[in-house]
Symmetry: C2
Subunit: 239 residues, 2 copies
DNA sequence: ACGACGATTCGGTGCTCACCGAACTATGGC
DNA sequence: GCCATAGTTCGGTGAGCACCGAATCGTCGT
């Protein structure tokens, strides 16, 4: 007995069930998905998806990060490679756009999407960077608005009372496609609402993806020097 | 739904069971094994092994050739690659000698082994080539001994009656490690017996592998100009 | 023709596991 | 404090399948 077949078989078994395979295929775009999203995507009960994720994570096929009540999972790079290898050996044509970090839906989401009630993706990261660049936000341990920032926010989102509630005004929320924080907390929520109200940011029901109108492009450029065009083209903010 | 997970899962499932994995690992040495050998090797009933082989073959993981009452299977090259990939991803160290066409046992068998009751492997192929080179054997459609060959055979294996029985005197038997015919049939059997009797070829019970003594090296060189040393080193006859 | 042997087919058995729903925990925002 | 939402745990159910032994088939060599 030269090589023990058991661990190999055990690993293969993880990819040997349509549901888990579908989960991995969804994750091959390189993004982090939540447990619930995956459950809906592959059409099983949340409990079932959760069980699958647990086994995939404990075997190292997926890596997980828990944030609040969400469980984000990502495909481990080696596992992604193996799956593409497996698919091609199995004679399945994986269309190019399905590969890592591409595909229409995927790129849309990479550009801008909702995270809880605020904006994530490259746009969300750019937003936070712009606030810092303009001296409106201070990023050290945690984050906080400067006094300029408070004034600015009230002008952008009129009728805001920052003293109410226990929700932190700003919260750096780790962005799982950019691996950098974007703007969360109350300020993030207010900004999203303000942008949607102005018709700058468009949000379709039951979808995570956000789009920016041409009015939004102008507005964001004027307000915070954000170049939406280049963000959309894939540029990341360089702060 | 961009990619159908089902065929991928189905393929992975083939490698997802310890028994089938063990079969594939055995086959990774690049040689063709019979169904029964694999059954014994992995420790299951012949019927079980047969079933596994059927599914592996029909999925293209293995290729099969039936010869007489034997079913030879080989690992498809892409499948071998995938398995090595899978093993390394699963964190299993596949020691170098386990890889394609190497390892001690494997190379021994590549050099010389029994096939039915005659000699296969590089030595078997060299034997057939030498007979042809010396004008003792005619290889066209099928094969037949020349009259010189008959005389020679009787001198090497005294007491031989070639007219008895329905067994073909010579039969080119496809060698599944060399992909070229070696000497089968009655002549092959007689030569093996003669060589074993003379102590040229050594055969341990319950093993397929054959070894050649130093007496055998001299004898084969003198009798048929066969260079056992270089065969053992991996050279193949070039006829 | 016959016996030996390798391989296959077929029933039956038992284990594993994917799945769901229901109950529960934890988090977020009011 | 409250409710809503995301996720998890757990028991039970059902399907799939790896396995074996017995019977059968085909080939080989006498």
């Amino acid at each position: 007995m030269t090589v023990d077949p058991v661990p190999i078989a055990r690993y293969a078994a993880l990819l040997a069930h349509p549901t888990r395979t579908a989960i991995c295929l969804a994750l091959i775009d390189g993004r982090a998905w939540t447990s619930g999203e995956l459950a809906r995507h592959v059409g099983v009960a949340p409990s079932t998806a959760s069980e699958h994720l647990t086994s995939l994570v404990s075997a190292g096929v997926l890596s997980e990060v828990r944030q609040g009540r969400h469980r984000y999972v990502r495909l481990a790079p080696e596992a992604g490679q193996l799956i593409e290898n497996l698919a091609s050996t199995a004679g399945v044509v994986m269309s190019a756009p399905t590969s890592l970090r591409s595909g229409r839906v995927a790129t849309d989401l990479l550009f801008a999407r909702t995270c809880y009630d605020h904006i994530a993706g490259r746009l969300g990261v750019a937003l936070l960077d712009a606030l810092v660049a303009h001296g409106l936000l201070l990023l050290s341990v945690g984050a906080s608005l400067t006094s300029d920032g408070e004034v600015w926010l009230k002008s952008v989102a009129p009728g805001t009372d920052l003293s109410v509630g226990r929700r932190p005004v700003v919260r750096p929320c780790l962005d799982w496609t950019e691996r950098r924080p974007h703007l969360g907390g109350l300020a993030g929520s207010l900004l999203r609402t303000a942008f949607v109200d102005r018709g700058w940011v468009l949000q379709r029901p039951r979808e995570r993806g956000l789009t920016v109108s041409s009015a939004g492009e102008h507005g964001l450029a004027e307000l915070l020097d954000i170049d939406v065009q280049s963000l959309r083209a894939g540029a990341v903010s360089t702060l």
